[in-house]
């Protein structure tokens, strides 16, 4: 990592053998003050700048109606809450995918492509086997998604390990390849819905759909509550990632390779195998995110069904400090922003894309705790330093 003989500035964070970046973004033990303060201040700052953008583009009078609608659309009532959880589901899963990469020193920007491939595999299984036991059918479809995502993530991992091709470039290229592949596959007669001109896949059979969670509620619009079993899968996945990283040998190898590849190699670990494994697990998690969209929310595959969750995932992993619990919390925030932004778009003059700007601002502040520290004059620990490895490493 940094070889410049960097002197470690004095902070209240306990000394740690690892680089300071890891203390910030992937701490071994969470420093709660630092872990909560920076994200909260970052979200607050981003919303303030968002307000300034609204004031500049639509006039200051629009700030309150817009943010009011945002909050209403995210939290007030069963439907907004259901929407928040629905939007949170894929980003939590994809966020875990990026987080596990960060833990191993790999930057998985390919969540989008892995979601597409995983989600598509799930759809194919979902519409193919008629008359199957629902539990078995769902399980098969999910396994297909995991396999598809793992392969699509594993190839860049293998290229990284064998040839040194940087995963940042290869995963992005794999995103584009996956998008084109989906466009093609959706036009084939095997996949395309019968009698449909648009490139839309056949409907997933009812036996493979992820059941909805809140349709039993005794309220009028219970049928509109879209939150589905994918959210439970996301929570299970978060627990699994936590268990994998902190309780298993495999997880230890992941982290070791991330912290010090040379050290890991000398300790007898296979850096090649671990890199491929990390990317495959990351791909599998993103594939699950795709399955949650296709089997749960949408019930089919269409162009762009991943909806940018693979990119939002990067922000989530940074916001949640690559800790599974942090990713879940960040995912809920993201879901709330997405759900609320729909209402904001409909009920105020501010467009839905403002939220993308706010999200980007959140990451800017998260990525640069020093910026937050400078603005609010609080002690938050050191600035983020090197996370990723350069081209040659």
């Amino acid at each position: 990592m940094n070889t410049d003989g960097l002197k470690r500035p004095e902070t209240e964070i306990p000394e740690d053998e690892r680089g300071s970046f890891w203390r910030e973004i992937a701490p071994r033990r969470l420093n709660w003050r630092s872990a909560l303060l920076v994200p909260l201040l970052a979200v607050f700052s981003a919303l303030v700048i968002g307000a300034i953008i609204i004031a500049a583009t639509e006039g200051p009078g629009e700030i309150l109606p817009a943010y009011g609608a945002l909050g209403k659309g995210a939290f007030l009532g069963w439907r907004p809450l259901s929407e928040t959880l629905t939007y949170a589901t894929p980003v939590i899963l994809a966020g875990l995918s990026v987080a596990i990469g960060f833990k191993a020193g790999l930057f998985n920007i390919g969540g989008e492509g892995q979601m597409i491939i995983g989600g598509f595999c799930a759809v194919v299984v979902g519409f193919s086997f008629e008359g199957l036991n629902p539990a078995l059918h769902v399980l098969l479809a999910i396994l297909a998604a995991i396999a598809g995502g793992a392969i699509w993530g594993g190839i860049p991992g293998w290229l990284r390990a064998k040839t040194g091709a940087h995963e940042v470039i290869t995963t992005i290229m794999f995103n584009w390849i996956a998008i084109r592949l989906l466009d093609y596959l959706l036009k084939t007669s095997f996949v395309r819905k019968v009698g449909e001109m648009r490139p839309i896949s056949k409907e997933v059979l009812a036996s493979a759909r992820l059941p909805r969670l809140l349709s039993w509620l005794p309220i009028d619009n219970a049928g509109q509550l879209r939150v589905h079993f994918g959210f439970v899968i996301a929570l299970i996945a978060a627990v699994f990632v936590w268990w994998l990283l902190s309780k298993t040998t495999v997880g230890f190898e992941f982290r070791s390779v991330g912290l010090n590849p040379d050290g890991a190699r000398y300790a007898g670990m296979s850096v090649t195998r671990t890199t491929v494994a990390v990317m495959a697990v990351a791909g599998a998690l993103a594939g699950l995110a795709g399955a949650s969209e296709t089997l749960g929310t949408l019930g089919r595959a269409s162009p762009g069904f991943s909806g940018g969750a693979g990119f939002d995932a990067i922000a989530l992993a940074l916001l949640g400090r690559s800790h599974p619990l942090g990713v879940v919390l960040a995912g809920l925030l993201w879901g709330a922003l997405r759900a609320g932004s729909r209402t904001m778009d409909a009920q105020s003059s501010v467009g839905i894309d403002l939220i993308v700007v706010v999200q980007a601002l959140i990451i800017v502040f998260i990525a640069a705790p020093a910026l937050v520290r400078a603005i609010y004059r609080v002690r938050t620990g050191e600035g983020v330093q090197q996370l990723t490895r350069g081209w040659g490493a």
């Binding site: 583009t57 040839t163 090197q386 490895r389």
Partner: protein, 418 residues
């Protein structure tokens, strides 16, 4: 390596690589023979001249394929027996060129109007332009050891600002504004990377998400509602360079373009001279290779990093204007389509050298324009697969080259003054 007796010694790695390449050539030869030679009949007409000065080259597609297969077979044999030593890479490029030629012969066979080879090469230069601008931006930043993943964001910002300013004022001011906008964004990246020492790749990704989000927001908020007033940059007309533009084939391919292409040529020349022949270039490279040493002899590392990263952003901003002003297209959300990242792959392929970056960009431009031309020829290959071509090429390039190309030694590391 040779012994005193003149016998060539090869390392096991070289032998293995020669065998792999031999197998690869054999595969290509088989493919050419099997698919292109057996699968075609009739003549392929390649058009080499312009409309007013026609120059055709008609060849039997089958004969061409057999000839190419034979040459590839010979190369495979040479590789399997003794390897080609220092000529390996050049021969590989030549072989791939032959392969593409056989492929084009197959695709163009029986097409009455023929296939405009010159038109495709010209389109390659056009398509290579934004990629090359992105790559040059990367070269500028990485020579002072700042990794710029944010090129994509700078391109889209340049495209947006260029489109709006060109519509409101005029195209020249639009290009200037796009350049400045890219510079501002890069300054942001520089502050994050240099002052706040954010991980450079994370900072670049942040810049991308921010720029894509902001342009999409402003686009949907304003441009969609008022297309004529804000989003009609108009098309730049190509300028034919006197004398040079009249050379057959070469003149059409290189010297009949919009001002963007000429700006690119000038920039490549200026950067090559600047980086390798001036005091500024020497100091920049020193900052990228060993900042501590540069600092010790009195070079202001931070100033060089800020300056060069900002200049790099300006280059990317100008390249972004190509998407709108250079093509005459209105701004469209996400219209850069990953070209910034392909630019990064190009920079690596070009080994952090401006001329290398231009050459590599032309390869990608070729892949890009091949895709357009082939979809016109109706070869039966789905257009989605053709659209994948540049991205697959980028993966292959990065996987094949990165291990052997050496980035600036301090690339990606923040500098902390003692």
């Amino acid at each position: 390596m040779t012994t005193p007796g003149g016998e060539v010694l090869r390392t096991p790695v070289e032998i293995r690589r020669a065998r792999i390449l031999g197998g690869f050539y054999l595969l290509m030869a088989w493919l050419v023979a099997q698919v292109f030679a057996f699968g075609t009949s009739g003549d392929a007409k390649f058009r080499l001249g312009s409309a007013d000065n026609p120059l055709d080259w008609t060849v039997s597609a089958q004969g061409l394929a057999w000839a190419v297969a034979a040459v590839l077979g010979c190369l495979a044999g040479i590789h399997l027996i003794r390897g080609l030593g220092k000529w390996t890479n050049m021969v590989l490029g030549f072989a791939l060129g032959l392969f593409v030629l056989a492929f084009l012969g197959w695709a163009a066979a029986g097409v009455r109007d023929g296939f405009s080879l010159v038109g495709m090469l010209q389109a390659s230069v056009v398509k290579a332009t934004p990629i090359a601008f992105g790559a040059l931006s990367g070269v500028m930043c990485e020579r002072v050891a700042v990794i710029n993943i944010g090129i994509e964001g700078m391109l889209i910002t340049g495209a947006f600002v260029g489109a709006v300013v060109a519509t409101v004022v005029n195209q020249a001011v639009g290009m200037l504004a796009a350049t400045l906008a890219g510079g501002v964004l890069a300054l942001g990246l520089a502050v994050l990377c240099i002052k706040y020492r954010v991980d450079q790749i994370v900072a670049g990704v942040v810049i991308n998400i921010f720029a894509l989000g902001l342009t999409a927001y402003l686009g949907s908020q304003y441009l969609v509602k008022n297309t004529t007033g804000l989003n009609q940059p108009g098309q730049l007309s190509p300028i034919k360079i006197p004398l040079l533009g009249d050379i057959p084939v070469v003149g059409t391919v290189l010297f009949n373009h919009t001002v963007f292409v000429y700006a690119l040529f000038i920039l490549v020349a200026a950067m090559t001279y600047g980086l390798f022949r001036t005091r500024w270039g020497l100091r920049s490279r020193a900052v990228g290779e060993h900042p501590r040493a540069a600092d010790t002899v009195g070079v202001n590392v931070f100033r060089f990093r800020y300056l060069n990263v900002t200049l790099g952003g300006m280059i990317a901003g100008l390249g972004g204007a190509w998407f709108t002003i250079g093509n005459g297209f209105p701004f469209n959300e996400n219209m850069t389509g990953g070209r910034g990242f392909i630019g990064l792959a190009t920079m690596i392929f070009g080994r952090w050298h401006p001329v290398g970056a231009l050459g590599a960009a032309l390869v990608f431009g070729f892949a890009d324009s091949l895709q357009v031309k082939l979809s016109i020829l109706d070869t039966g290959i789905p257009s989605e697969f053709l659209l994948m071509a540049p991205y697959i090429a980028a993966v292959i390039v990065v996987a094949g080259v990165v291990g052997r190309a050496r980035p600036p030694a301090a690339d990606g590391q923040p500098y902390i003054k003692e």
